[in-house]
Amino acid sequence: MLTPQTKTALENTAKNICRQHHLSQFYFAQSLGPRRHYLAGYGQQTFNPAQHLTLSENVVVFWQGTLPDQARTLIKQALRPIAQMIEREISMP
């Protein structure tokens, strides 16, 4: 389970990414078997096909809008510490 502070941090991160890359929505999810369990995010659903990127073993991000390959790579790198933080928190009993 995420702490409220982490949740807020994820919301702010998602907001920044949306603004920087002109995305309508960006959110973090936890992989639980086939389920991608919503953790936190920002933006509005526009009913376009969502894209996704696996950040770590149990953390995935989804977005709506266009992200070129280079931006995806940068985002993946930038979010690595956040993914590690999420992994730590969700592994806590």
Binding site: G33, T46, N48, H52
Partner: protein, 497 residues
């Protein structure tokens, strides 16, 4: 008789449950007197007031606002046929407004039937020796799931008795096993759970296996009736433990939860308002309402006289009313109509009740799908099902009525769960995904499992009709839907948004 081991397990658990109840942090939200007062204060309702409430319910469906208990009491007390016509029409309108004209299909799998409880209405009660109980091992479960997915299902609800053999650890093991089964293109993509209330750490374990919805039926919210139905000293005898079972599930991070009532144990009007109070309590505490609501009507079970003779058995007319009122009072919730009802009744209620999900091709004996040709196995079942049609026959009937049969499981695999799902349902925009994913999953069914008759109506009428709907209402998805349909024709599967 319980074995010594079963007795010890039950007694230890009961002690822990009572400790939890002593320290329960949640306020009780079921006040029997208040509910009856609310119902009785709204007798002989003013006609215009009632029609205004129906209009309000329609408006509410774009914001997800629930009706108040007072409003629902006004409607349930009316016997004006004109008003009921308006309620039925509105229930159907709201359902189409929120979810579109699709019906999500699933099938229950009874995984284990031994139970330490002794509920008066249940064929699986511990003292009922006339029903044979069994617990599937993992190989048997794989066979059962294989038989199920070979009919075309992608979505199931796994049902468990409350017993040391089917504890949280066993439940986790079964969920993981279910997801491993592949048979041709067949697989289960979403497993929901119907099991006993758990402790938070147990829910956390179950959550980690990747479940869909966790469903707990209170059966009856009426305190005295609850006591009569669930003997003291059994686990299910603990009212508060069960009442807050979904609260604990959310506390553990399970954010798709589903209450239900077994209609026929007590007055349906009381139960309906109580279920509304349950939804309000979840909203208040967590900001998340019920993902679905269930309203099974009590039906016959072997050696279970109460099921046929309860003074509160719900008539067909009242059943139609309560289903429609659920849609008006809680516009965003999934509404599940089961195969306990006869085919004609199901087809009528789906038209006027705002139903969004139905089971089909249902077999409820433990190991029932392995013997799919046998419709009922009374001595192995919790109750008798009244709609034993095959999935394909059921799908055909839905198509003929103009519905889109959907095997969609996309939302929870795209991160649209809990707080990310609720706004879509509350703002009535979730249909944009529901229809698109319904088309794609129905196409898979047509390609892999359908009879020639279903293929014909599906390909010639249903898919084009709903593809046109997407073109007109969600044009940004239309091209992708067409592409994904083509990919499916080229043997690619599990296309979704």
């Amino acid at each position: 008789m319980l074995t010594e081991k079963e007795n010890t397990w039950r007694d230890n658990r009961l002690e822990q449950i009572r400790q939890w109840e002593q320290h329960c942090k949640y306020p009780n939200f079921i006040d029997d007197n208040l509910i009856w007062t609310t119902i009785n204060q709204q007798t002989n309702p003013d006609k215009q007031k009632a029609f205004d409430i129906v209009a309000k319910a329609r408006d509410n469906s774009s914001s997800g606002t629930m009706l108040s208990p007072q409003d629902v009491a006004v409607l349930m007390n009316s016997d004006d046929p004109e008003l009921w016509d308006a309620i039925f029409e509105t229930a159907n309108w709201i359902k189409r407004h929120v979810y579109g004209n699709r019906i999500v299909l699933f099938a229950p799998v009874y995984v284990s039937s031994p139970c330490v409880n002794n509920c008066a209405y249940c064929g699986f009660r511990q003292e009922n020796a006339k029903v044979k109980k069994s617990t599937l091992n993992m190989d048997e479960l794989k066979d059962e799931i294989t038989a199920l997915v070979d009919t075309g299902h992608k979505r199931t609800i796994l049902v468990y008795g409350e017993h040391p053999l089917s504890d949280a650890q066993y439940i986790c093991q079964t969920i993981e096993t279910v997801y491993t089964v592949k048979s041709g293109y067949g697989e289960i993509r979403r497993a929901n759970i119907n099991a006993a209330p758990m402790f938070v750490p147990e829910y956390k374990d179950i959550r980690s296996a990747g479940i869909g919805t966790y469903q707990i039926f209170q059966e009856t919210y009426h305190h005295d009736t609850y006591k009569k139905m669930h003997p003291k000293g059994t686990l299910k005898g603990e009212y508060a433990w069960r009442l807050f079972g979904l609260h604990r599930a959310i506390e553990a991070g399970i954010d798709d939860v589903a209450p239900g009532v077994l209609f026929g144990l007590y007055d349906w009007r009381f139960e309906l308002l109580a279920m509304l109070y349950h939804a309000m309590a979840l909203e208040k505490e967590f900001g998340i309402g019920p993902h679905t609501m269930s309203y099974p009507r009590m039906v016959s079970a072997v050696n279970t006289p109460l099921a046929d003779h309860s003074r509160y058995l719900v008539s067909d007319n009242d059943f139609k009313k309560l289903v429609a009122l659920i849609r008006l009072m809680c516009p965003y919730t999934g509404s599940i109509l089961t195969a306990r009802e006869k085919p004609a009744m199901r087809h009528e209620v789906v038209k006027i009740g705002g139903v969004s999900q139905m089971d089909a091709g249902t077999r409820i004996g433990v190991g029932g799908y392995g013997q799919i040709k046998q419709e009922n196995m009374p001595d192995k079942q919790q109750f008798i099902i009244n709609d034993p049609r095959s999935l394909d026959d059921f799908v055909l009937a839905l198509c003929q009525q103009g519905y889109l049969p959907s095997f969609c499981t996309a939302g929870y695999r795209e991160g649209r769960t809990g707080a990310n799902f609720m706004p879509l349902a509350k703002q009535a925009s979730v249909k944009n995904f529901c229809i698109a994913n319904g088309i794609l999953t129905f196409k898979e069914y047509l390609l892999d499992y359908a009879s020639p008759k279903v293929k014909q109506i599906g390909n010639e009428v249903v898919i084009p009709t709903f593809a046109k709907w997407i073109q007109q209402n969600v044009p940004q998805l239309a091209g992708e839907v067409t592409n994904k349909l083509k990919m499916e024709e080229h043997q690619q599967r599990d296309q979704h948004f």
